[in-house]
């Protein structure tokens, strides 16, 4: 892989973590409201998979999608402003945290009803396949979303018509407070794909390079016309389900064990954020991002001082996004009506 790309991935991961922690702060201050679902712990999934996608591909995501949006190319300003409900937000302040959209980036939302991403994704895939285009659709969902009927219905249709859809499960083992063994009769999500003859693999979602490679291969298969694929990424969220969830249902030891595998924990940044120290992580043995970092070091991609520089860059970007959001104007009611009727054009209704 290109050195620039590796660096870009590292940068995106650092940005993602910083952005989300900062959003949490702003939530506490009351600048952000509603449900706020944060991504810390899961960065390797969005970063690895979206770096493997082409600009002509389409992205469909959930309510936990700030990082997907930014890795896809949305500016942190547009995302933060949307979280603030400002007119300069990517959805003009109408959508908020759970409904990020960007037509130019083919980022088609931002869905907050669990299980909606499947039909949207196969619909886009259908439009693509009908026209014979070389595009693919990346469809994100959580482990809890797998039990929604639309999973079943949509995967069946995806295979039946060989639609170019990559199903990406962010298996963080929890459906809010319900652990996967308590919500799924089969806890290995990838095994469910057998009911539709969809090729599927389980990947270590804490290993950004493994995520990247698996996604690249799956997309290659899809572009070769072989129909849908499914990837399950095992990961973990370090925070509560949303800002209103203290996460008391998770054993403390479980949280700590996963934090040791944190893709970012090996970074100096981790300390500042209060995550385990380098010593603790080293002592914990197998650490997927430690491996990524050693790799980066060995290849001379990122030296220690460069890492520091990256962190500073990322900090500044996030601070800038907060300033931008704070200073941006609020939308007015006319913006709301315009949003609702934007597609009406010159159509005369009555």
């Amino acid at each position: 892989m290109e050195r620039d790309q590796l660096r870009a991935m590292l940068r995106d991961m650092l940005l993602a973590r910083r952005f989300e922690e900062r959003a949490a702060e702003e939530y506490t201050k009351g600048h952000i409201a509603g449900f706020l679902h944060l991504y810390p712990g899961e960065e390797a999934v969005a970063v690895g998979s979206l770096h493997a996608a082409e600009p002509s591909d389409w992205i469909v995501s959930t309510y936990r999608e700030h990082v997907h949006a930014m890795v896809r190319g949305m500016s942190p300003r547009a995302v933060m402003a949307e979280l603030f409900g400002k007119r300069t937000g990517c959805s003009r302040g109408m959508g908020g945290s759970m409904h990020l959209f960007d037509r130019a980036l083919r980022f088609t939302g931002g869905y907050a009803i669990v299980g909606e991403t499947y039909p949207v994704a196969i619909g886009i895939g259908y439009a693509v396949a009908m026209r014979g285009l070389p595009e693919a659709v990346l469809c994100f969902f959580g482990d809890g979303a797998v039990n929604q009927g639309t999973f079943h219905e949509s995967l069946n249709m995806a295979r039946l018509w060989n639609l170019p859809v990559l199903f990406l499960c962010e298996n963080n083992h929890y459906q809010i407070g319900t652990e996967i063994h308590r919500h799924s009769a089969v806890a290995e999500v990838y095994r469910r794909a057998c009911a539709y003859r969809i090729p599927a693999r389980r990947i270590d979602g804490m290993d950004v390079l493994a995520v990247y490679e698996a996604t690249r291969e799956a997309l290659a298969q899809i572009r070769a016309g072989n129909g849908p694929q499914l990837l399950e990424f095992e990961t973990y969220r370090f925070r509560g389900h949303s800002m209103s969830d203290a996460g008391a249902y998770r054993p403390r030891v479980e949280l700590e064990a996963w934090q040791r595998r944190d893709p970012l924990a090996a970074q100096p940044a981790a300390e500042a954020l209060g995550y385990p120290t380098q010593e603790q992580i080293d002592a914990a043995g197998e650490d997927c991002i430690g491996r990524f970092c050693r790799h980066l070091g060995r290849e001379g991609v990122v030296a220690e001082d460069e890492l520091e520089a990256l962190r500073r860059e990322v900090d500044e970007i996030v601070e800038d996004s907060v300033r931008f959001a704070l200073e941006s104007p609020e939308p007015d009611l006319q913006d709301a009506w315009d949003s609702l009727y934007a597609a009406r054009g010159k159509e005369v209704l009555l």
């Binding site: 389409w58 469909v60 937000g89 990517c90 959805s91 003009r92 302040g93 109408m94 959508g95 409904h99 959209f101 960007d102 037509r103 088609t108 939302g109 931002g110 869905y111 009803i113 909606e116 499947y118 039909p119 949207v120 994704a121 196969i122 619909g123 886009i124 895939g125 259908y126 439009a127 693509v128 396949a129 009908m130 009927g149 639309t150 219905e153 949509s154 069946n156 249709m157 039946l160 018509w161 913006d335 709301a336 315009d338 949003s339 609702l340 009727y341 934007a342 597609a343 009406r344 054009g345 159509e347 005369v348 209704l349 009555l350």
Partner: protein, 326 residues
Amino acid sequence: MTERVKLWQALNRALDAEMAADDAVFVLGEDVGLYGGSYRVTEGLYARYGEWRVRDTPISEGSFTGLGVGAALAGARPVVEIMTVNFALLALDAIINMAAKIPFMSGGQFPMPLVVRTPGGVARQLAAQHSQRLEHTLMNVPGLRIVTPATPQDAWWQLRQAIRSDEPIVMLEHELLYFDEGPLDEGLPPPPMHRALVRREGEDLTLLTYLKGVGQSLEAAERLAAEGISVEVIDLRSLRPIDWERCMASLEKTHRLLVVEEDCGFAGAGAELVARLSERAFYLLDAPPRRVAGLDIPTPYNGRLEAATIPQVDDIVQAARELCQA
């Protein structure tokens, strides 16, 4: 040139015309392809346009309606057929929470050129689960538009207009109207999609109705004319938006309001009609407004009981008579 065609044929021609004109248009639903559609609406299209543009689906209403939403996001113009509106209960998340909200939630970035066609109403002894009417549920959804063609000419006009619109539109069709015949002139310029049309002019009473109620009301009006009661029958053609100006203009003349609807009366489509017009035409009305509507009971299978639970021409005649005496 005016021909006489059945309503299903008018829909069929509208689909054909739009599919020929724009290859972004495609049709999907259960048995719309090889089988030709349960009410023949898609007959012949599979042979003509192939499986990608006329897609037979599994029984997965929630997801294939959602598929329509996704396809619309990517620039296609899907026409989803939900075999009957009874199954639309399984697709309401796609219609209400996705199709109707995405354009808004995206700050206006994404148009939603989606049409959902679905037959409904009380047909012939299909029993409670297959006699659903969902007018009211869909009417309360901002962002959605609802059209209700009661004639072949409207079916032709409104389906073409719906396909060309960039907003999500539900077309409610009535199962008992598909095989009704009426005039169709393909070349006639269409009125706006949501405009109400006066089907019969009258002086004494404004009768608002839609779909199957139109034919029944015209029949009732004919009988009432013989008694000297002159009824103005307005076919709403659209339940969202509603052509209030047309309704008000008529009330200014007649000062009496009767609504004929097939759905269950309590909180049915007629509720909004009576409510809004009571608010707006309060000083115009000479008598209490009235609804002739379905009884508030699930539809019995037994034929006579079924008939007893939905408006009949006699009921309309009687209500109109009483209203004019009030």
